[in-house]
Symmetry: C2
Subunit: 492 residues, 2 copies
Amino acid sequence: MTTPKHYQALSQEFQRIYHFQHLQALGDWDQATMMPMGGSHGRAEAMAELAVHIHQLKTAPLLLELLDCADSEPLSPSQRANLTEMRYQTLQANALPSALVQAKTQLTYQCEHAWRDQRKNNDWQGFAPNLTAVIDLVREEAQILGEAQGLSPYDALLNKFEPGTQACQIEQVFNEVKTWLPDLIKQVQQHQASRPHLTIPASSVDKQQALSLDVMSLLGFDFNQGRLDVSSHPFSGGVPGDQRITTRYEEQDFLSALFSTIHETGHARYEQGLPLEWRGQPAGQARSMAIHESQSLFFEMQLARGKGLLSPLTAKVNQHLGTQFTATQLEHLTTQVTPGLIRVDADEVTYPCHIMLRFDAEKALVDGSLSVADLPDFWDNAMQSLLGLSTKDNDRNGCMQDIHWPVGELGYFPSYTLGAMYAAQLRGAIEAQLGNIDQLVSDGKLNRVFEWLQHNIWSKGSLLTTNELITAATGESLNPQHFKRHLFNRYL
Amino acid sequence: MTTPKHYQALSQEFQRIYHFQHLQALGDWDQATMMPMGGSHGRAEAMAELAVHIHQLKTAPLLLELLDCADSEPLSPSQRANLTEMRYQTLQANALPSALVQAKTQLTYQCEHAWRDQRKNNDWQGFAPNLTAVIDLVREEAQILGEAQGLSPYDALLNKFEPGTQACQIEQVFNEVKTWLPDLIKQVQQHQASRPHLTIPASSVDKQQALSLDVMSLLGFDFNQGRLDVSSHPFSGGVPGDQRITTRYEEQDFLSALFSTIHETGHARYEQGLPLEWRGQPAGQARSMAIHESQSLFFEMQLARGKGLLSPLTAKVNQHLGTQFTATQLEHLTTQVTPGLIRVDADEVTYPCHIMLRFDAEKALVDGSLSVADLPDFWDNAMQSLLGLSTKDNDRNGCMQDIHWPVGELGYFPSYTLGAMYAAQLRGAIEAQLGNIDQLVSDGKLNRVFEWLQHNIWSKGSLLTTNELITAATGESLNPQHFKRHLFNRYL
Ligand SMILES: [Zn+2]
Ligand SMILES: [Zn+2]
């Protein structure tokens, strides 16, 4: 077997790109957690220079030549999977003319900037023309990306975040969900109507921080390879060997920081568990946004809101905050279902409604069947039918609430609900193989759950496609019935 | 006047280099303050990649061509100064063959690594061959750098840190100092013998940190353009618009963190005060290591140990730490003169002895008149003659104490004492123009001192040579008499 020298050369190039992406991750994290305001200008310039450099590396003609040569080399299945990912990343970087990339960067920067005030002021008339311009450009982007990959325009956007996933599959899944979810929500509300009202006592940031760190340890976060800090919006950043997660403490609501820490810990453990021998290579990276979200939601929803983990969690809350909650009280507080207008505040049951609405809207915006002018009515109708709420003359809390569209990120929203579904499906597989998860946790065998995830998801990186990964782990493709069963089990 | 288009193109190239240096500064700071141990490997790889990239940018053939073309363009005096700095940096980057640079990186990495244990174990026999190999390579480096600039080998090393300074000038200055300093040290010790003994109460890290931050505000540190953190060795890092300084808290000795914070604040204000209109250009950078140290030592020695600032400083100490010091007590604690073996623990008066010894030694090591084998005897003799102390069989606290030589940084040591001398000379100029500094501070006019430094030093960046800068600010070249007068005034 000859040495695959072109493949080796490619690996080196991607390793180099990865080193600069390491610096990008550091710059982003520092900007959100440590950087004083006065550092913004210099940092923005440095990060822009870095982005240009990474783009140059990814679009170097040498890379395309090497890709073609490597294709005919004798490669192991893993090397071939890596080559596929390399080709995909190269295609994504090369597909768009740089004039379009620059125009989008400028336009979305302006749109986002104006949106921050326009949203506050419920200024739809001001926002609509900006959003129209962004959507027009995104349509152009989708068209070009689609042609390069033989995909429809919207599928091309979807594939930026979920390679291999098509809108028609998601439609099928979501259409089925729409047949039972609105009804389930009503039933759950009736079911929870008799719950006693609980108040949450205030707790200091210091105590909440100690609680967060303690819970991260419980969940196996490796502090030798990461840290917890504070930012205005919680996120997980850094690199696989150095995960930087953040939270935000609200004195009046310790559950906010606690559960966002648990969520980000799920993201971080995925990154910390990515295959070390593939670090720096495309095949060593996290599979997709939905798989990433499946891990954070597995931690936040499947594990932390389950009876097994709620018990030690309640003990830690009481210990650090001096409260006297029972596990049942904490369960009630964290499983309360209340239809609302705001996606990021939504509970586990109503959350998919927010996503399905956005999925329908952005598909229609991209294929031109919905104009930006008609978006408020569309939103109001969908909210009425899904959650029984109106957003009439309240666009601030309707179609203007998210940052995704102002910054031109269409195709991202489905990841959230796909992630929730994958999480439920993974739970099903774990329970089939290891037994009831709450029981495992109660028996002190939480680690067996993590080992399963390490073996079946984390260690696989991008060596398998999303569908291969989920099929290998659970024995079937995406099957939303697990999510349905989970919601019915937990909430009725 | 035609547009100097080659000069403009050069400026853009150096701006680009600066953006990557921004990322380098961030990576270094994060590594020392925030990064968990497990992140080391990935960070080291990313930083090495970045260093290679910066070196490539600095040695691009295009740069040399542009430098030649720009030379004949009509430039303003400031642009010409910038061009001189560009040429200097390019020369430094191009002079050394990359094989030598790589060999030095590897060799010094190994030497430093082994040194950490060898120093602990007082293992001179183990350390000597490693140091010999490093010195041999540094001699080669010095030879090449010297030939490229028409300088003697040692002057070439000196010029890496102090462009334009020659060993013969320093020799002249140091030889004069040797005629009076050993005697002064004895006199000061007698003078201080009757001082009452004071004990330092323990203080918590939190209180010391609040004190540090408060004192930084008093000294005009701009927290919108910087921050204070903790590292195992205090340093100032970051970029001019975002200064990251660090300190280290010892519960048993609050003076350590307090005065290292004041020292680093001096470095940071210099950086924060560099000319905004030249930011990112070689002419906009700090002039030299000695000028940098002159600012930190001006803050730490001239200002903070002076009667003017000691009074508000004492108030803040008492306020934050709950102590009851008088200003005189704090003065006694911070001006105690005690000959010792360790440079970094030395007081203001004995410090130059440590530097003069190292300057003589490294000159002789580079010109071959001193062999590594003879270094311990050389050190012992010099310590005996300068401070009356022996390092016989105590190399750990003698010639093995500093990290500089194991990492191949010869030519750096003189900067410390040149900095102390420049600081005293600047004080002389300020007092000639504005009146007694202690009086100014007592009168609430500390800001006038900072304005003078801003106008005469900080805002000049590298637009002037070191000699031009000091002459413009003080009316004369380096004149060690100011330092002598300062020591006699303060300590006798
Ligand atoms: Zn998430
Ligand atoms: Zn210093």
